[in-house]
Amino acid sequence: MTDGNSQRLTDLMRSSQDGDGKAYLELLRAITPMLRATARRQLPVYNRQDMEDVVQDILMSLHAARATYDPERPFIPWLMGIARNRIADAVRRYARQAAHEQVVEIVPETFFDPGANMSAEVYRDPEALRRAIDGLPHQQRRAMELLKLREMSLKEAAAVSGTSVGALKIAVHRAVGTLREVLSKGT
């Protein structure tokens, strides 16, 4: 990163804090490839989509914490402070998931009575669940994807989807109801 480029980003951030939407858009577009490269360097085992999720996390965190930037200080260390923190969180999340997941060839039977396993088996059928989610109305599907599959907070999901927190809550509630109904009909 050249001094000139670094100064340009500092100027863009300063204008963004003063409410210049165009400068903010330019800033976010300019830093995204940098963030992607940083994430790729630090998370070599991640696939493309996981990496993109981390980049989005960093962008949303930057947005939430933009009041903490002091224009008297350089921008890049501030940005990288957030990026490193979110990447470390992603690594922790990944390690936690890996620690709780066990790859098995045959899913063990949960109950002796085959009938008692029915609903559990249906809900464990990822293909049926995927089909059921695909069949949801757009808004409900989007809410499920952001909140349940990508585990975003309501605030983050609201920023991504452009809907209100209340609308997201209702959409998820309805989606869960619809999925329960669809999956229980399939048994």
């Binding site: 963004s16 804090q17 003063d18 409410g19 939407g21 165009k22 903010y24 858009l25 976010l28 577009r29 995204t32 993109e52 980049v55 989005q56 962008l59 949303m60 965190s61 947005h63 939430a64 914490a65 933009r66 009041a67 903490t68 930037y69 002091d70 224009p71 200080r73 350089p74 260390p77 501030w78 940005l79 990288m80 402070g81 957030i82 923190n85 907070s153 605030k155 920023a159 991504v160 452009g162």
Partner: protein, 220 residues
């Protein structure tokens, strides 16, 4: 560019409004200190200052310990406010160490002097569990103010930040406690008062991730 990320950027830029920058850490530490001192002063007045306060204010050891505790509180608050600004060096967390060492050193010296004067009798310790909740109560307003102010920043090192914030509040609580609670034996102060400050700080630091998280940023 990935379409979803591009979409997110567009949305963030569309919703962007002018924002009020957080004042620099030294200014925020000063604001906190003013509010916190008012809270502590109110509790001291409510509890009635100790009868020998005028005499204690001429006692060098008492003054050193009170000033060191106050300096610890100010340094810890400043460090905590630095840590919620991304890009700040974490070495700033060491700032409260010098006043903390002076505070601890004065208490240790007091214990040594007591041992020279009274021998093994100086190590007799009576239970004074009330110090723990007392420091928590006196430090309550400083602590709540600290949490509200920290949640406006970024949780870059939540445990360390909350531990420093709690140290600031508890140290100030201890300054207030000594103004109405007549307990001056160095060993008692060391174990029950300094010990309570340390315990409260460590406990708060342990729960730091619950107090400071990214979900709080921008909501506080």
């Amino acid at each position: 560019m990935n379409l979803e990320t591009d979409d997110l950027i567009e949305r963030l830029a569309t919703r962007h409004k002018p924002i009020r920058r957080l004042p620099p850490p030294r200014k925020r530490a000063l604001y906190w200190l003013l509010i916190a001192l008012c809270g502590v002063a109110a509790v001291v007045v409510l509890m009635s200052p100790r009868d020998d306060l005028a005499a204690k204010l001429t006692d060098t050891r008492f003054l050193i310990e009170e000033l060191a505790a106050l300096a610890t509180a100010v340094a810890a608050a400043f460090s905590a406010f630095c840590l919620i600004v991304p890009g700040h060096s974490r070495a700033v967390a060491l700032l409260p160490a010098p006043p903390l060492v002076i505070w601890l050193g004065s208490l240790g010296h007091g214990c040594w002097q007591a041992w020279l004067s009274f021998g093994d009798e100086a190590w007799r310790l009576s239970p004074e569990w009330v110090c723990l909740p007392a420091i928590a109560v006196v430090g309550a307003i400083p602590a709540l103010t600290m949490v509200a102010m920290l949640q406006k920043g970024a949780p870059i090192a939540p445990r360390m930040t909350v531990m420093l914030g709690a140290l600031a509040a508890a140290a100030l609580g201890n300054v207030g406690l000594r103004l109405f609670h007549p307990q001056d034996a160095s060993l008692m102060v060391l174990v029950w008062q300094f010990g309570s400050v340390a315990l409260l700080s460590l406990l708060a630091g342990w729960g730091g991730r619950q107090v400071l998280a990214w979900r709080h940023v921008g909501n506080a």
